[in-house]
Subunit: 468 residues, 2 copies
């Protein structure tokens, strides 16, 4: 990686208006660390362009000097892909325009720095729904969630970000602008370049704007928490709920009792979800275009499941406040672990049908590797995606425990691999997992990805430390 | 393009078992012409491998000799991408295994030569639904519909083939096997190579198998035909129907009176769709997970539309037979044109909100260019996709008319381009449209596509005549 020379920095500063760049370390500092405090980066220059033309000008100059660039959105990534170590930091957060919303096309075009929450709000204001939703949505930007192909809680029904993008505008590594902001549902005219940019973690270009798919606002919604003996029962319940509603399951989130206990203990304003304390919980959300249908479907599904002994307890939210209380326990699962000491974090997926077997096998293996470790598995089980976190045994030496993270992760990832799963379901590889992924990707995949990258960015100036 | 030398042919024949290759021209002949009879190809050798290993062996040999390969599925393509002119013809149609169906994953893995209809049937047998559906589904193969990113009649609800593929197995241009047959909903570990292969028209590798997404079987379905004064009314009706059903519109197909008349005149067992004869028709199909909801929704939507004067007539199918009769008129729109003499065919898309304006503008321009020409526009208006066909003026010289196809298409395509549309919505570019597409793609897109192709297939042996 080539850090910028003084000449390159001077050229960048001259090319951009005041306010579109800074070298002030106090101004830059907040953008050099991330949420989990795992990395503290450094950069000689932060660019904050306000238009696509400014981004193109900056990238062209960096390209001419062979200077490395790291694009950054809301800085909410969990794998360090947004933290510079000498690269020019190209923050998109000042590109904040909602360029247009066209309800008849179920589409809107927003710039990269618009937050996910603002995008959702722009859709709602036009009588439509933008489904991507995740805990960091107040800060995460559209450019970031595209570049990391973010997932979240409604993937089961609406898909990952990859499926929600109709068009992309990007500045390519040579500084040319690719204008692919089409509002089309169908366009078979060559390779789908936008699909290549989605999930590329900033290595193939800088996403500056996107046209997003919008959906109708649903007319009924029902939220429930159920208690189960095992994750196996959860998988059976999921299949029933999907069949019974014709695909109306919007969220299906698994939690373990230990994770609920952490939330009750450490997060203010949380309360028990059920009268009983089952070993496993599922939070289910059904939606429907028919008024009343989601509520009726939930009643029907849960009554039948209860009578058959598939579930051992259930509570249907009686109002929006109660639904939010259910969701709060789910959303705080990660934060609630922190006061318990650090953990080995995993973001893995396996086929849905295998998730219960995976959990059994992984937990046994982890106990063998690290006796007394506490497993707090939770997540989007409807998509086969678990945040499989392993916490320090109570009273054990935390620092030594964290020192075994890599070896412990290997135990988990090897099992994931045997189940034909993924060691990064929704967070991406970033700085954290690129090397680990090399173990599990086949040579032809790595060879092909490298060839593509070299073809598009021959000098490897775009986010050079991440991916292959 | 390098045609195979006798040495290369001998090596291929020696490497594959008897029955996996032929030079018999009678056996090869049916695979050298296509449905529209526009091209008659030639090949020195047709390979019909029965396993991925055989495909890999064949591609490795071709690669070592630099010999061009053209992969073919069911030979139902409409743009000539499957017709060889000297390339080795690699037919996938003997790779016919359904490898597995796992209903709990809503997934099944099938080989490239399985027909679309057989794939649908395998899904149904497992209590699930595979939504891709098109007129040629009895012959079109999974490998073909992946390589062309096929669309069809249910895109509005389920997306193009691109959105229905979870994993791909392919033989890359150097003969290596890429095993990407994952059953995962979430996997963020680098560039999505399967998305690059989908719609690549056989230029980046040979798709040998795929893992497909399955869906729940719907519990209610309603089919109706409505009559309207203008396509503008159709767009308004579409938005209402989507909002009212929460996205339950599965098909929304526009037809012009002239197309319905052609069907009544030339296709046996067709009858008038409505008591009246409106200038425009829409065929609507609603589905729902709730029993009875599709029928109730259809009644509600059409009653309101009728009262407001948005539609001028409507008929709801009272049974499956009547629904099939409605669909027949729609599905035969293309075949029904043939006895009227040839036409200039277009497969275009524009943003849904613009489709009515596009139709007005294009039809005026076509009339100016070719007075008396008859426009038979029909198609998937819910996706902004029209098959915009222009038929010879009655009594005019057909041959001379067909000679003006290219110039006439230019008139249409230039208007499509002004509406930010696509000159190939669902058929692909193939031999027919690659050159035309060069006019409308930006230099950065063409440059990037060429760089990717060169990186993956440096000797350009894969389907060399199509795409950029």
């Amino acid at each position: 990686m080539t850090p910028p020379s003084p000449a390159a920095i001077a050229e960048l500063e001259a090319a951009l208006p005041a306010g579109s760049w800074t070298r002030d370390s106090a101004e830059i500092a907040p953008w050099l660390t991330e949420w989990r405090n795992r990395w503290t980066g450094e950069t000689p220059l932060m660019l904050t362009p306000r238009s696509t033309a400014e981004v193109a000008r900056a990238v062209t100059i960096c390209a001419s000097h062979g200077v490395a660039i790291l694009p950054q959105g809301g800085n909410t990534g969990l794998v360090g892909g947004q933290v510079p170590f000498g690269e020019v930091l190209l923050s998109l957060r000042k590109m904040r325009a909602v360029r247009d919303v066209t309800p008849l096309d179920d589409a809107m075009t927003v710039e990269a720095g618009v937050t996910l929450l603002e995008a959702q709000q722009a859709a709602t204001a036009a009588g439509r729904f933008f489904p991507l939703s995740l805990a960091a949505e107040g800060s995460a930007t559209i450019g970031g969630v595209i570049s990391t192909n973010a997932g979240g809680t409604a993937v089961l029904r609406y898909g990952m970000m990859r499926e929600l993008v109709l068009g992309i505008e990007a500045v390519m590594p040579d500084g040319q602008i690719f204008n692919g902001l089409k509002r089309l549902r169908k366009d078979n005219t060559g390779y789908d370049l936008k699909q290549l940019l989605i999930g590329a973690e900033g290595t193939l270009g800088v996403v500056t704007a996107a046209t997003l798919k919008l959906f109708p606002i649903m007319r009924s919604r029902a939220t429930a928490v159920v208690g189960l003996e095992t994750p196996h029962a959860a998988i059976t319940l999921l299949a029933r709920a999907k069949a019974e509603t014709g695909g109306g399951v919007e969220a299906f989130e698994l939690m373990k009792r230990i994770g609920v206990e952490f939330a009750l203990k450490h997060i203010p304003d949380t309360r028990e979800l059920l009268d009983s304390t089952p070993p496993w919980y599922v939070l289910i959300e059904l939606t429907s275009g028919e008024p009343g249908a989601a509520e009726a479907g939930m009643e029907r599904i849960l009554s039948a499941a209860f009578e058959e002994g598939l579930i051992i307890d259930a509570a249907i939210a009686q109002n929006e406040t109660q639904a939010r209380a259910f969701w709060k326990v789910r959303e705080e699962q990660s934060a609630a672990q922190r006061p318990e000491g650090g953990g080995w974090k995993h973001d893995v997926s396996v086929p849905v049908s295998q998730i219960a077997d995976f959990l059994d096998e992984a937990t046994t293996a982890v106990q063998q590797f690290e006796p007394g470790a506490r497993v707090s598995a939770f997540g989007h089980v409807g998509d086969g995606n678990m945040h499989y976190d392993i916490l320090c045994p109570p009273g054990a030496d935390l620092k030594a425990f964290l020192g075994r993270w890599e070896a412990g992760s290997r135990v988990v990832h090897d099992i994931v691999d045997r189940y034909d799963g993924s060691i990064s379901a929704e967070h991406g590889l970033g700085r954290l997992k690129t090397e680990e992924a090399m173990r599990y990707k086949s040579p032809i995949e790595i060879q092909t990805m490298r060839a593509i990258r070299k073809a598009i960015d021959p000098r490897r100036i775009m986010n050079p430390a991440v991916l292959f």
